[in-house]
């Protein structure tokens, strides 16, 4: 951090002195800045802008909702190191969500909820805080309650393995914004997968109790796993246009990784079928579990009370 200090390193007495000065060294800036400021957000030729935006919303909502869940661990984790690590993962996903929601808004302004005239709420926040649950496009895996630490680890392992495979392909997207988001995100997801993979093996081979909890937790989330590989119409369109990824195409390589972790852990694949939708509607269609509405109720309450608010 020393490279961002503006004061003499030993000048601790004046820790207060920078308070009334706006300089360039505040973490997260001194004001809201468009995360895509200065980035060319032109939609590539031959790409359906609405499909691209819907796709960004899917990937953005996955990250946003899981980030919200993982942040619930803050001050509740088994030890300080895990508290910090889970917060890190939540922060990374939140960063990905901001970029993807901003990309969605830039590609299709019609997606962005309208607020009263003069509202200063930026697009990413309108999308995050002023859509209802049925407008969210996240897979249902991300919205489930955390369960215990083992269940959270199992979920982070499955989610980050899948998302890393998607992002590695997405880093070659014809859409320069998505390609850049994916390239940066892939590095983060590699760490998330590594963290979860290590803990998965540790819990599987730690004590009888940790193994029992891990097997139980994995079983709880397993029915939500197949949904991640089902190709939605939007994904079909963006994959064909060379800007998105058909998740069915990453299934085989994801499977290899998960099998490796299961083998190293001595844990069997759960024998449970995929969770049905409602009239076929699942997360990507806006069909969710009972949990999402509650997640959003908490997440959106302050923002919705102040549609003209400045934060």
């Amino acid at each position: 951090m020393s490279d961002v200090q503006t004061h003499e390193p030993d000048d601790h007495e004046s820790a207060y002195s920078g308070l009334l000065v706006n300089d360039a060294h505040w973490a997260f800036g001194t004001d809201f800045e468009d995360p895509l400021a200065g980035v060319d957000t032109t939609v590539p030729d031959g790409v359906d802008a609405k499909a691209l935006a819907a796709y960004c919303l899917m990937l953005g909502d996955d990250a946003l909702v899981l980030s919200q869940r993982l942040a619930e661990w803050c001050s509740n984790a088994p030890d300080l190191e895990e508290d910090i690590a889970l917060a890190n993962i939540a922060l990374d996903l939140l960063g990905q969500a901001r970029l993807l929601l901003a990309r969605a808004a830039a590609a299709d302004p019609d997606l962005v909820p309208a607020l009263p005239e003069g509202s200063p709420v930026p697009d990413e926040d309108r999308l995050a805080f002023f859509r209802n649950d049925a407008q969210f496009r996240n897979v249902r895996l991300t919205e489930l309650p955390n369960g215990d630490f083992a269940e959270t680890i199992a979920r982070v392992l499955l989610f980050s393995t899948w998302r890393l495979a998607v992002f590695e392909r997405l880093s070659h997207s014809r859409d320069a914004v998505l390609a850049a988001v994916a390239a940066k995100g892939a590095k983060e997801l590699t760490y998330h997968r590594d963290f979860a993979g290590r803990w998965f093996v540790t819990l599987a081979r730690g004590t009888e109790e940790s193994r029992r909890r891990l097997v139980h937790g994995l079983g709880e989330i397993w029915p939500l796993w197949p949904e991640l590989f089902e190709t939605h119409d939007v994904e079909h369109v963006v994959a064909k246009a060379g800007v998105g990824v058909d998740p069915a195409e990453v299934a085989a390589e994801v499977e290899v990784v998960i099998e490796q972790v299961l083998a190293a852990s001595g844990v069997d694949r759960p024998q449970r079928g995929g969770l049905a939708g409602v009239q076929g509607r699942k997360g990507r269609d806006g069909g969710h579990t009972e949990h999402l509405s509650r997640v959003l109720t908490e997440m959106q309450v302050t923002a919705r009370a102040h549609p003209q608010g400045q934060w």
């Binding site: 997260f28 803050c74 939540a90």
Partner: protein, 317 residues
């Protein structure tokens, strides 16, 4: 050479180190009282960071913008990091993190009373950053020069991050003051609630402070409670003016003669009630910490069992 003579020489060396304002290091000889006093103070400080995660963590899920959510989550994460450095500094004195956590949960060791106040609106995140972190900085900046090396070095790093937090808190309040009338009223209401508890953070008036004198002789503490409180008031007044809020103290006025502000006294009865465990959130904070610690026990046991198992296999291989 008898051990009495040796102790005498060691003590003389220790006293000389203190007198020259040099650092005492973990392997140096130190009087038992110094060690105990340090463990108490560093542990209390570490516990404050960890308990302090709760009042602000209370609003992570309800942060009103994604940028504010990121700022807040990163801040609370920093507090966990500060707790880590400080527990590590305490460990150099021969106590483990587990022992210290048990002492926190059982109420044998304390943490800063400020965290026994509730956070009732998102604005409190900004007010805590500005006033509570500001008061903490006033308390902690002199500790960067404290006589025990690992503590002083941890404090240098912590103070740098705390001043970031303070600026972020102040920036949130500034932004809200540019917002709606309702938001401006929220800022004033929050400042009204936190001003007096912030003044209490410097501890009781000097004449009632039991630990100050010895701690100052040993160079663990370098300023008295009242000195630091005065400094805090003098620094905060111009900031309140820049922000456009007032402090809820009719006695607060500039004293030309002293070149300092005169100000009223916090409600010390409330202070002692909170210290003794009857604050609005004392029980809640400890229950929360105890639940997280107890519910994590099986994870910590699993990690230990796995590490032991792996190292056994490593040896036999």
């Amino acid at each position: 050479m008898s051990s009495a003579v040796a102790d005498h020489e060691l003590e003389a060396h220790f006293d000389a180190t203190i007198e020259h304002a040099d650092r005492i290091e973990p392997r140096d000889w130190m009087p038992d009282g110094y060690r105990k006093s340090l463990v108490r103070q560093i542990a209390q400080h570490a516990h404050s960071e960890i308990i302090g995660m709760q009042p602000e963590g209370n609003w992570i899920g309800r942060a009103p913008s994604l940028r504010r959510k990121a700022i807040l989550l990163a801040k609370v994460q920093d507090e966990a990091g500060h707790g880590l450095y400080l527990y590590s500094a305490a460990e150099t004195l021969g106590v483990s993190r587990d022992e210290l956590t048990e002492m926190l949960i059982s109420g044998k060791q304390k943490y800063s009373s400020i965290f026994n106040y509730p956070t009732l609106s998102y604005t409190d995140v900004g007010t805590i950053g500005w006033l509570v972190d500001g008061a903490a900085i006033c308390n902690q900046v002199p500790l960067c020069r404290t006589s025990f090396g690992p503590y002083g070095r941890a404090m240098i790093r912590i103070c740098k991050e705390e001043s970031f937090h303070q600026r972020q808190g102040f920036e949130l309040l500034m932004t809200m003051m540019r917002g709606t009338d309702e938001q401006r009223a929220m800022v004033q209401e929050s400042v009204n609630r936190f001003w007096w508890p912030a003044l209490m953070m410097f501890g009781p008036p000097d004449e009632d402070s039991t630990n100050t004198e010895q701690s100052m002789t040993w160079g663990i503490k370098t300023h008295t409670n009242d000195e630091l409180r005065q400094r805090f008031v003098d620094m905060s007044v111009p900031q309140a003016k820049a922000l456009g809020v007032t402090f809820p103290d009719p006695e607060l006025v500039w004293n030309e003669e002293r070149g300092q502000h005169d100000f009223g006294q916090p409600d010390w009865d409330e202070f002692w009630a909170v210290v003794k465990g009857d604050g609005p959130c004392n029980a809640q904070r400890i229950v929360h910490r105890k639940r997280a610690w107890d519910e994590g026990a099986w994870v910590r046991e699993a990690a230990l069992a796995f590490a032991n198992d792996s190292s056994r296999k490593g040896e036999s291989a």
